[in-house]
Symmetry: C2
Subunit: 101 residues, 2 copies
């Protein structure tokens, strides 16, 4: 499984961020071709070490190539282009393939 | 599902880190009571935005209380106490409950 792990920094206006994220951004991301699962953090992220992001989203795909294809698609371009519309606290986006430990 | 998301910064000695992590630390973490799934990044983490950690581990539990109990157990204490034995590039540890988007 290949994950697109998205960590949003604490936004300037938490309520505005949450509303826009769930009402507008999530539907865009859910349209990504090849998306297998899409989870978002529910409630606060608790930092045991380091600085907590405001929200963590994890999108699962079959392979790195599937992530590339998803991001290159019209739906992927629309999703990425939407980020500046609501991200005010920075965002980190990592792609990695995971295996059972 | 509640996740313990562990992101290790790039270590001073990558080979030494990888060897110690997989041979010593993973077996300690796998003994955590209540652990449902344990995945680790396989190969490089590709940063689309932000700075890539060296390795990402995701441990799944049933609830925040299960994570707390795991960390408070003797196995959890041994796992946490092992971190300074191999972490040289920093580590971020987040606990969050996720739901389908």
């Amino acid at each position: 499984m290949t994950y697109l792990l998205v960590q949003y920094g604490v936004p300037a206006d938490v309520n505005a961020f949450n509303r826009y994220y769930h009402e507008t951004h999530v539907p865009l991301a859910k349209a990504l071709p090849g998306l297998r699962e899409f989870t978002v953090s529910d409630g606060l992220v608790n930092p045991l070490a380091g600085t907590a992001p405001h929200l963590i989203a994890q999108l699962s795909f079959d392979s790195p190539e599937a992530v590339e294809a998803a991001l290159a698609s019209p739906e992927g371009q629309a999703t990425v282009a939407d980020l500046p519309n609501f991200v005010t606290g920075g965002v980190s986006i990592m792609v990695y393939t995971a295996r059972l430990a």
